[in-house]
């Protein structure tokens, strides 16, 4: 059983986002990157499946600054194989392009199961899971919260809005978009990650040229604008409280 997890690094919202001079993209100068949280869940789900079934886990990620850390962390959790996809990401890439680049890579790896976070906050052209499944001509199930593997089949529990869950049986290979792992992603001690840095190896594969066709063209990217009709009350806590009381009284609150 071969499980391949695709993990992406995305802007960390702990820092405020800034728009670059072109006005159509994020300013990457000060941006911090972080593993897409749902991809972290996909890695955890893969490791849980490995612990249950003895599957092999490969983690694959675009070669963006910080990728070594997330791959070595995955190795410390139990992933056997680490691969980064080297390419020119700086001039811009979208999920369509990435999915096309990953298609031959995935075919070579011959996975029984491909796991990927069901979405990422920077998905401007749709999430990557269904795109990848499309190019690979494989079935896709998204919003998956647990997986059982048996006899060349997977039973995926998919979450729907309104508190509904549905179990779906699907023949492998399949691409699953992970909403949440069965356990919260585990913490691995820094000493174990440092150990993995000494022992694990990261393979490098060339992405080749990115073909952006199918993705959006961005005319303008901007911060949310304060709309009219809202009053922002500034000042000390006491001043704000006084103004609020005044407003409530004016509105007739007794």
């Amino acid at each position: 059983m071969n499980i391949v997890v695709l993990a992406k690094l995305i802007p960390d919202l702990v820092e405020e986002l800034e728009i670059d001079d072109s006005g159509t993209a994020l300013d990457m100068t000060w941006l911090r990157l972080i593993i897409n949280e749902l991809d972290d869940h996909a890695i955890e789900e893969a490791i849980l499946l490995k612990e249950r079934t003895g599957a092999n886990v490969t983690v694959l990620a675009p070669d963006i600054e910080g990728v070594d850390d997330i791959l070595f962390t995955a190795a410390a959790k139990g992933a056997e194989r680490l691969i980064k996809i080297v390419g020119d990401y700086e001039s811009g890439v979208n999920n369509h392009a990435l999915a096309r680049v990953l298609t031959p890579v995935m075919k070579d790896l011959q996975p029984d199961l491909i796991l990927v976070g069901v979405e990422a906050h920077e998905d401007l052209d749709g999430s990557i899971g269904p795109l990848l499944a499309g190019y690979l001509d494989l079935p896709f199930i998204g919003y998956v919260a647990s997986i059982e593997l048996e006899d060349g089949k997977a039973t995926a529990t998919k979450e729907y809005p309104g508190g509904l869950s549905v179990e779906m049986e699907v023949t492998l290979p399949v691409v699953l978009g992970i909403q949440v792992a069965e356990e919260p992603p585990r913490y691995v001690a820094v000493s174990k990650v440092r150990q993995a840095m000494k022992t694990a190896e990261i393979e490098e594969l060339e992405a080749g040229d990115f073909d952006l066709a199918g993705g959006p063209t961005i005319d303008r990217m901007y911060q949310p604008e304060v709309s009219e009709g809202a009053t922002i009350i500034d000042g000390s806590l006491d001043d704000i409280a006084d103004s609020l009381i005044g407003i409530f009284k004016e509105l007739g609150v007794q």
Partner: protein
């Protein structure tokens, strides 16, 4: 069970663990454990731990340490040094046995989820709160004078002020940080801060079993210290103080450090002329574990409080070496939910009750974990409605403000 047992061809988990305890300063004293049980009796959470220190040692001797690794109640240890302070054989129970046990649990993956978040944040952002590292000096913005960073100062400075995590980011604790800044200014201290170059001191992460993370953070701070010229470090955080004084030197990071209360107590004669009457106040002082028991600093904080006109200092039942822990040490700061689930009591409420019992107007503290912990607790304790929680720096700054 002897040290040589671990050198046998197939040492058991108990053997390997027992031998590893000898690497801690005075660790070999564990051999002398009398099984008197004093440690387990004095432990604030000992009554609900599956393996309080004495019992853990008994299990080690019986070659059954694997039972300890299956338990999660080791995480109730708040690294408060209460057991270490009373042990008649002076075994380093907190820094040795309990911390090593947490390290083993962490490696096994037996870690409460809420603690994992704080550790992950410390790894990612250099602070357990998960705040932006770029905003570490943002607290200085509300002041009417400048707080220089070393990068801006571009010159040798007398004092490096290691601000710390909670003093930098926690909205309540920032008030104490600003108070400290005012006092340094009145004293005319030539100081600078590291700003975004500062990382968590890492001590509570270390005591929560994450030694590798501690070393990573210490290395980053050591590098930042090494970049600049200064004579000494001061900090308001007893945990940072403990790390820089006792732990960083073991990693080759050697810098003189003083706790803020020591530093100001040495200069109290310069400050006294500026201190004005704050009105009659009954003040009681809570000895933080890492200032008191771990580092024997009991008098400077009391000296400062005694210097404030109007303050009447009263002692609570538990004071000095037998002070009570606020519950925040050794990772406890990040285990409130876990502790509540196990205990359904908060150590901080016990402390507030003692302050109420001596009829105090103000509970004075000297550790950044405490203002939010004790203020929360005061809301839950009957009769604590009028009790104020103030850092010593805040009381001093209040007394200075009267002058203006």
């Amino acid at each position: 069970m002897t040290a040589t047992a671990a050198q046998a061809p197939n040492p058991s988990i108990s053997d390997t663990f027992y031998t590893s305890l000898f690497e801690v300063d005075n660790g070999e004293r564990i051999r002398a454990c009398l099984q008197c049980g004093t440690c387990s009796g004095v432990c604030p959470f000992g009554y609900l731990m599956g393996f309080p220190p004495g019992r853990m040692i008994a299990y080690l001797r019986a070659d059954r340490f694997e039972n300890v690794l299956e338990s999660d109640t080791v995480w109730m240890c708040v690294s408060c040094y209460a057991c270490t302070a009373v042990c008649p054989k002076e075994i380093p129970l907190t820094p040795g046995l309990m911390t090593r046990a947490k390290e083993e649990l962490l490696l096994e993956g037996n870690v409460p989820t809420e603690l994992q978040d704080a550790l992950m944040n410390s790894q990612r952002y250099g602070n357990p709160l998960g705040e932006s590292p770029r905003k570490r000096a943002e607290w200085t913005k509300g002041l009417d004078f400048d707080i220089p960073t070393f990068r801006e100062a571009k010159r040798p400075v007398d004092v490096l002020w290691f601000v710390g995590d909670y003093p930098s980011y926690h909205p309540r604790v920032q008030l104490t940080t600003k108070a400290m800044a005012k006092i340094l200014r009145v004293l005319g201290v030539d100081f600078a801060i590291l700003g975004p170059e500062e990382n968590s001191d890492g001590d509570s992460q270390r005591l929560a079993g994450e030694r590798g993370l501690f070393e990573m953070l210490a290395e980053k701070n050591g590098k930042a210290f090494g970049k600049y010229e200064f004579n000494e470090i001061i900090t308001s955080d007893p945990h940072a103080y403990n790390a820089i004084k006792n732990e960083y030197p073991k990693l080759g990071i050697n810098f003189p450090v003083q706790h803020f209360t020591e530093f100001v107590a040495d200069r109290i004669d310069e400050l006294k002329p500026h201190l004005k009457d704050i009105g009659e106040r009954r003040v009681t002082y809570h000895d933080p574990c890492y200032l008191g028991r771990a580092n024997d600093i009991y008098d400077p904080p009391r000296k400062l409080l005694g210097a404030i006109p109007g303050v009447e200092l009263v002692e609570m039942t538990h004071n000095r070496t037998n002070s009570l822990c606020c519950g925040g040490g050794g990772g406890g700061m990040w285990l409130d939910g876990f502790q509540w689930e196990k205990a359904h009591v908060r150590l901080s409420e016990w402390r507030i009750q003692e302050a109420v019992n001596v009829d105090a107007d103000i509970l004075a503290v000297a550790c950044p974990y405490e203002p939010p912990r004790f203020e929360d607790a005061a809301k839950m304790v009957q009769g604590a409605g009028r009790l104020m929680v103030k850092d010593i720096a805040e009381l001093l700054a209040d007394s200075l403000k009267m002058e203006e």
